[in-house]
Symmetry: C2
Subunit: 333 residues, 2 copies
Amino acid sequence: MTTSREVRLKSRPEGLPTAANFEIATVDLPAPDPGEVQVRNHYMSVDPYMRGRMYDRPSYSPPFQLGEAMQGHAVGEVIASNDPAFKVGDTVQSMFGWREAFNAQASAVQKLDTHGLPIQAFLGVAGMPGMTAYVGLLKIAALKEGDVVFVSAAAGAVGSVVCQIAKLKGHTVIGSAGGDEKVAFLKEIGVDHVIDYKKTSDLKAALREAAPKGIDVYFENVGGEHLEAAIDSARPFARFALCGMISQYNETGEPKGPSNIIQAVGKSLKLEGFIVSNSYDMLPAFLQDMSGWIASGQVKWKETVDEGIENAPGAFIKLFKGENLGKMLVKLS
Amino acid sequence: MTTSREVRLKSRPEGLPTAANFEIATVDLPAPDPGEVQVRNHYMSVDPYMRGRMYDRPSYSPPFQLGEAMQGHAVGEVIASNDPAFKVGDTVQSMFGWREAFNAQASAVQKLDTHGLPIQAFLGVAGMPGMTAYVGLLKIAALKEGDVVFVSAAAGAVGSVVCQIAKLKGHTVIGSAGGDEKVAFLKEIGVDHVIDYKKTSDLKAALREAAPKGIDVYFENVGGEHLEAAIDSARPFARFALCGMISQYNETGEPKGPSNIIQAVGKSLKLEGFIVSNSYDMLPAFLQDMSGWIASGQVKWKETVDEGIENAPGAFIKLFKGENLGKMLVKLS
């Protein structure tokens, strides 16, 4: 008998989540039934989008249910198999994060060919966040020669990949992030102009200075003042890939919308939201490109790793305080 | 010697323009020089976009200059010609509105084949506003089978054409307008659900009721609460053609942005601003389609006509008070 600890949503957060919104439970896992596998997770992912699933409202992902283990990306190892397609020791990825181990239908987990990368890279640069950057920049924003690219949350799991793809394709990149460590990382990966928004009282002015001729692409991870600054500096026909707006996820009042949205008319701007799961047709191209870029050293990444399932809620909360550099992970075994 | 009265911008409006921002001047027109024509305008257009040109700031159209005659679409008749391509009596259109008559290089006016329509139709349904509707709906919003279409300022020069193109292509159309006369016109042209926003305290609720399954296309002419309501009711992958935001043109403080813009991420919305002059390649298709639709009675239009150049500023101001039904025109001769 395997035991597993898991994180359940105890109550729906009001505003910024706190530890009290979560509870840790221990469950016993029987041997897998026919057609099932048993998996021990090595790493689980915490991602900003999970905040949306903590609200009880319809969205592209269904809400997490109170009293049940949450879901999310995880990578681990088969520890028991009752399905001919899997054997003990197989490395797999799944959506059964937020738990140390689990039983699942074999069809609900995927074998992972790591291409020599550390497995947790498939929760970050080579996984959903990396592919989000790839899809948003190349398909949604339709990056083209000569574009000046502005990226918010530029040192994060998604933003840092956006910056590097844009750089390796020869673009001028402006990245916004908060704090010396993030600024240093962005300079290390070649970002042309770094804005430390925590040290900036006037983000519009800072962006105008960084991009005196304006921007052609904005990769939106933050919302609020960042979106307004991007609209302000947008050149005609600029394209905005709206990936997320982390500044607003915990808003309890009415968020402030971009007061200058009217400029979208006169400048023929295109603002387009997207969800990476609608572009899975691009997965083979992404994996091929990304493995090449990593092998050649053109794409680097940072991880912030907390250990132990009991620290997963805290790791999640760090995302909204900007306390992670690069991909935020929880190491489980 | 011909004399002409013209409207000049006397001062830049703060907020809603007033009569005091304009002045009428009388000029003498000499006989046209070689290569020039002299034209008497029969009708001139007043359009909401002209408000933007009254600010002293860079935009897609340069600012009107203080003390000079303004510009805009006009239709008229050649009354003297010193160019072999034009003869007295030719019907022409030009951008020399806001004046009774003018001399211009022959290349700056275009002969107008009216296809049997009244000439002023080329300032409205068969002109720039009609083509704006056509481009915004068919190219920017990329109207496709089954779309539910929401149109604001639906009884206006642009909006009423949007509604009718969507209807003749078989779509469900929801139109918002203010006042009984506009509501009656929208019902007459077959709009499925009409929202009188002046009688509605909760526009979001009204749109949800009119479109219980949501909207796929929003044709944006108004901004503010209309944009928020459209985002609220948007179905996944809805497309917004951002044509104008008349509610904000005279805003003196900071306009309120759409507080729910974050939904653009989760619902994969596309919001795209456009200027019709970037799509002149569609002009032949527009003229062919529109002349057919008018001939078959599938597209109708209304005009609100004021007379005399001295009343042009007042006609312009009416646009922002919603006092026009359909295309606002000034008859000059």
